[in-house]
């Protein structure tokens, strides 16, 4: 599977854990979602909502000059599972190149081995987050390829 190195490490880390410790690991990642930068904090209209998550969940991505992707998540503390997904994607994908992000397999999360501890309906949340994240990055890449004439 083509995955950025850090995301591949995280997946391996989960897969190596006994099933009963995987929830704890997810809880750990839920605490690792970086706070929003000032320009986004309190500005949910500047972010995209992920309605599949059932709890208010927002994401934003920025494509840097160096072609690397910055990802921002806003998820409430009373939704630790969704925050855990955000923590995994945040740590696993922040700073990866646009091409690397777009190449992450949509079903990468099955390798986390969470299906025995979290319902399949819930797990689709992480897939929805990744899908929207990739779409945002794809739109930004296309806009850049189209050149300044198209974005001016």
């Amino acid at each position: 599977m083509a995955m950025p190195a850090r995301l591949a490490e995280i997946v391996e880390e989960f897969a190596d854990l006994p099933a009963e410790l995987r929830l704890e690991a997810l809880l750990d990642y839920s605490r690792r979602v970086p706070p929003l930068p000032e320009r986004l904090a309190g500005h949910r209209d500047a972010m995209e909502q992920v309605p599949e998550c059932q709890t208010p969940f927002f994401l934003a991505t920025e494509l840097g000059e160096d072609d690397r992707v910055a990802i921002y998540f806003d998820a409430p503390p009373e939704a630790p599972t969704t925050r855990g997904f955000a923590g995994i994607l945040s740590e696993g994908l922040n700073g990866a190149t646009a091409a690397e992000v777009l190449a992450v397999p949509n079903g990468f999360y099955t390798a986390l081995g969470l299906d025995r501890v979290i319902s399949p309906l819930r797990l689709r949340g992480i897939s929805a987050i990744l899908g929207r994240l990739k779409r945002q990055v794809g739109v930004q890449v296309e806009a850049r390829l189209a050149g300044p004439a198209a974005t001016a």
Partner: protein, 307 residues
């Protein structure tokens, strides 16, 4: 044998048909050390318990603990006995369920426990939300209760549970149905939204004849149940339901409708209420079952040849 916990004498509860099925946060705070009472947290978010729970509470996970891991069904009598035993619950233990999101999953866990006839099951009025809002204590310490010898009790699927074929009969006979999903799911609009792969069903709409009362209407903003009078205004005043009706409630997979089942059975005291846990994920995927795709209950199903 120890005796079950006493009842919560709060006046609000006395207005309901079965006040013995609810406890208030204040009462629970005073009874956490009752020897034969176990508090059980059941959440939509399966990590919430780990972030902090009511002192002494055990976790019951709807997905892992109550569902069969392979078939779409609940655990067997043996499985339920194993679960109860591992949580330190005896057949005569009072179980007080609570959880996030307006007790959505707590009501579901209570309903499943009722399939196995556990005698004394109660809900915490207001659930996790009220307990937290009142600044009551939480802990991350997981209690260790000694395993019990819980009997194997065969699940009763006939009294409070309905299956698809029975619901078809119910529709044919013009029986009362309550669809507790959101108005968009009820009318079928939500399936048609582009780019939003909604889980579950190939067809949108509702079971013909079903009235739409979203489950959360039974709750106040603070998570507690509405008063008996307010509930009667909704279910008796608006829908015209009575204690004589044979009622089937459903939602998407039967969890939200457990909440409405609790309201109709225990708070309003209707004796014949069943939860159709197959719900829309089954109905909306079934071949040759009637569907009404509008925001109205639909034509009298008895006028149509059905199924």
């Amino acid at each position: 044998m120890t005796t079950a916990a006493e009842l919560d004498p709060a006046p609000k509860l006395g207005e309901y048909a079965h006040p013995e099925r609810l406890v208030t946060t204040a009462w629970l705070a005073d009874h956490l050390d009752d020897p034969n009472l176990v508090v059980a947290e059941s959440d939509e978010d399966v990590l919430l318990y780990e972030t902090g729970h009511i002192p002494g509470a055990v976790k019951i996970d709807w997905h892992l603990d109550l569902n069969d891991p392979v078939e779409r069904d609940y655990v067997s009598g043996e499985g339920f006995a194993r679960l109860m035993s591992s949580k330190g619950i005896s057949r005569d233990t009072t179980i007080v369920f609570y959880g996030d999101n307006f007790n959505w999953w707590a009501a579901y866990a209570l309903w499943v426990s009722t399939l196995f006839g556990h005698p004394d099951v109660r809900l915490l009025d207001g659930g996790r939300q009220a307990w937290v809002a009142e600044g009551r204590p939480l802990t991350t310490e997981v209690p260790r209760r000694p395993a019990t010898d819980y009997p194997v009790v065969e699940r009763d699927d006939a009294t409070i549970r309905a299956f698809r074929e029975q619901v078809l009969e119910h529709v044919r006979g013009g029986g009362r149905l309550v669809d507790v999903r959101s108005p968009g799911e009820y009318s079928g609009e939500l399936l048609a939204m582009p780019d939003y792969p909604q889980e579950g069903a190939l067809r949108g709409g509702h079971i013909p004849g079903a009235a739409n009362v979203p489950w959360k209407r039974a709750a106040n903003e603070d998570g507690t149940f509405k008063s008996a009078e307010e509930l009667r205004a909704i279910y008796e005043g608006e829908l015209g339901l009575t204690a004589d009706d044979d009622i089937v409630a459903y939602c998407r997979i039967g969890e939200r409708s457990s909440h409405t089942w609790f309201v109709l059975s225990h708070l309003l005291g209707y004796p014949r209420v069943r939860n159709y846990d197959g719900s829309w994920v089954e109905w909306g995927n079934s071949v040759r079952v009637p569907i009404e795709r509008s925001s109205e209950p639909g034509p009298d199903p008895r006028l149509k040849a059905v199924g």
